[in-house]
Symmetry: C2
Subunit: 261 residues, 2 copies
Amino acid sequence: MNADLARLSPRELRQLIRRGDYDGHTSGLGQRHLQANIVILQKSWADEFLRFCVLNPRSCPLLDVTEPGSPYFEKLGTDVDVRSDLPRYRIHRRGRAFEEVTDIGEFWEADFVAFAIGCSFSFEQALLDAGIQLRHIEMGRNVAMYRTAIDTHPAGRLAGKTVVSMRPMKAVDAVRAIEITARFPMTHGAPVHIGDPALIGIADIAAPDYGDAVPVRADEIPLFWACGVTPQAVLAEAEPELYITHAPGHMLVSDKLYGEV
Amino acid sequence: MNADLARLSPRELRQLIRRGDYDGHTSGLGQRHLQANIVILQKSWADEFLRFCVLNPRSCPLLDVTEPGSPYFEKLGTDVDVRSDLPRYRIHRRGRAFEEVTDIGEFWEADFVAFAIGCSFSFEQALLDAGIQLRHIEMGRNVAMYRTAIDTHPAGRLAGKTVVSMRPMKAVDAVRAIEITARFPMTHGAPVHIGDPALIGIADIAAPDYGDAVPVRADEIPLFWACGVTPQAVLAEAEPELYITHAPGHMLVSDKLYGEV
C-alpha cells in the first residue's frame, strides 16, 4: 500500500480514480470512511431490487439509491459519480461476469438506477479498533463466505439463500463483537448466527463457497454475518439482461464516517 | 379500554377487526407487539415512495412492503391482510382526506403496493418500561408534533420538510432515552435534535403543527424524534390521485415484538 494513497481524503481518492490514475482495491483507503458495494440495474429490475433490499436489511443495508437515470449519490457525499468514481467495475450480462472495466460512462443508460450497499470493511475496522483480532486479516486472506439454508425474503423475480461471512473468536471477543456490530445496522448489523454451522446449512466449515478458508480453533466460536455477496448471488440467479457491480474489493469510498448513517 | 380487548393476541385482535367487531384505536392493544403506520399507493407512485423511505429512514423506517397487487404483509406475521386488518382507514384523493372507512376491500386495485412504517407507540413502550415518564401520556394528550426546517432527501415527486414529535425530559432521562431509542432504528431510532427548537426552525414550542401542546419545564430539555407524519405530509403535498393510510391512532398490529425487526 502506497502511504501517500492512504493519506488521501475520500474526495481526493475519488478524483484520482476518476482521472484513471488508480484502479486498485480500496481496503484501508479513504481515511476510514464508509465504503459501499455497488449494484446498477435497469429500471425494469430496479424496483424489485429496491424492495428486495428493504425486505433483507441484514444482507442489503441500503446507504443510498440514485434517481432513475442519475449517476450521482446525493447522500454519500459531494460530487459522487458512480460512472467513474470506483476503481473497477464488472459488467454482467445474463447473470455472468462479462467484462471488467475502470469506467462505465460508455455503458450508462438513461434508466439506470444505482444502489450503494453497506460493506463489511467498515465493521471490521470497528472491531479492530476495539482490539478484536480478525483471523483472516492476520493470515492475509479473504474472509470465508458460505451459502446458507437461510431463505431471503423474495421480491418479485429476486429470491435465494443468504450468503454469510464467518469470523472465529473466543467467547469474550464474540460477545463484544456482537455488541459493537449491533450498533451499525448500515454495515450488516449483528450476526445472523453464532455457533454450529450445520444449523444454518453449512456442511463443511473448511470449504467456503466464496473467499478463503480460515481455521476455527477448539476454544473459539464462529460468528456469521449476513454478507453483501447475497444480492450479487440473487442477481446471478435471476439473470437480468444487463447489470453492473463493483469488482470485488474495489468499492465506492464515500464522504461519510460509519457512525454517520 | 376493555380489559378483554387488551388480552387478545395480535392475531386474535386482527381477526376481531377483520370481522368488523372492533374499529377503535390500537393504543395499548396487541400485547406489546409492534404496530405500524400504513401507506397504500398505486404502482405509479409506489416506486418513488419506496425510494423516499429508504433515503429517509429516521422518518420512514420500513418494516415491510407488499408485492404489487398483494394485500399481504409477509414479514409482519401470518395472514396479515392490509385490506381488512386495520380498524380504520383514510381514503385520500388528490392529497386531501376524503373518506374514513373500516375496510378497503372495495377500493383495492390490482397495482396497489402497501407500506408498513415503524410507529412511535413501540418506542414509547420501551421508554415507559425503563421508568421514563412521558408528559403527554400523563396528561392524556396526543404527542406534540412540529413541521421543521429539516429537509427530507427528495425522491422524484416526493419532497418536503421533516415532521418531528417532541417529548420533554430532565437531562438524566434524556440521555437514557437517547440510549434506548438508538437501539430501535425500526421505530424511528435516536432523536434527530435535542434542545433549542429554533435551531430546527420551530418558532413556538407552545404551538405544535399536529397533536397537542405539552409544557417544557425550566429544568427540562426537549427531545425531537423524526415522525411517521412526515411521509403523510409529503404525500399530501405531492397529491397522488388516490392513496390510502391508516386513520390516526388506528394502526396495524403485527405479530412481531419490537426487538425482532
